[in-house]
Symmetry: C2
Subunit: 95 residues, 2 copies
């Protein structure tokens, strides 16, 4: 899986609201109603991550969720990250 | 819930292996076999956190889990954090 250039990343990010590129990752944050809602969404994302065998670097405190995606093997952001970002948006926006 | 002094925190930490006190939190990290194992444990901890209405500041990447506990209302570490830390140890070590 080939590391994308900054231009390729920024082009793709135009289709994603609330996602940014920095420090070799694409990242976003979400705020939910409470912890239970946040963890419910995390669980759905966890199943998707496991299915894609591509796992987020994420942190949670109460209703806040921060997600960073990068492809360690490629040393940067690849199409795998955008596939996962797209799945995350689908999960969060389906709720 | 009263904020504990540094002495009180360090006394209590003697009963916890792998936990440290810094920046007004008690914190630890765990390494699991893979993402599925890590998230399985996170789920058990999430139910406990919800039951105690005391939620961790935690982050995960693949098989790594970092957990920080503090009591925001008290501006530091309280008995609530040690109760939660104790529950987390019970969950992780039961596995």
């Amino acid at each position: 899986m080939k590391k994308l250039t900054e231009q390729e990343i920024n082009d793709r990010l135009e289709n994603f609201e609330g996602w940014e590129y920095s420090e070799n990752t694409i990242h976003t944050s979400f705020e939910f109603e409470n912890f239970k809602e946040a963890f419910t969404l995390m669980t759905r994302i966890a199943f998707e991550a496991e299915a894609q065998q591509h796992h987020p670097d994420w942190s949670n405190v109460y209703n806040q969720l921060e997600i960073k995606l990068s492809t360690h093997d490629a040393g940067g952001v690849t199409e795998k990250d955008f596939k996962m970002a797209n799945a995350i948006e689908g999960i969060v926006n389906a709720d």
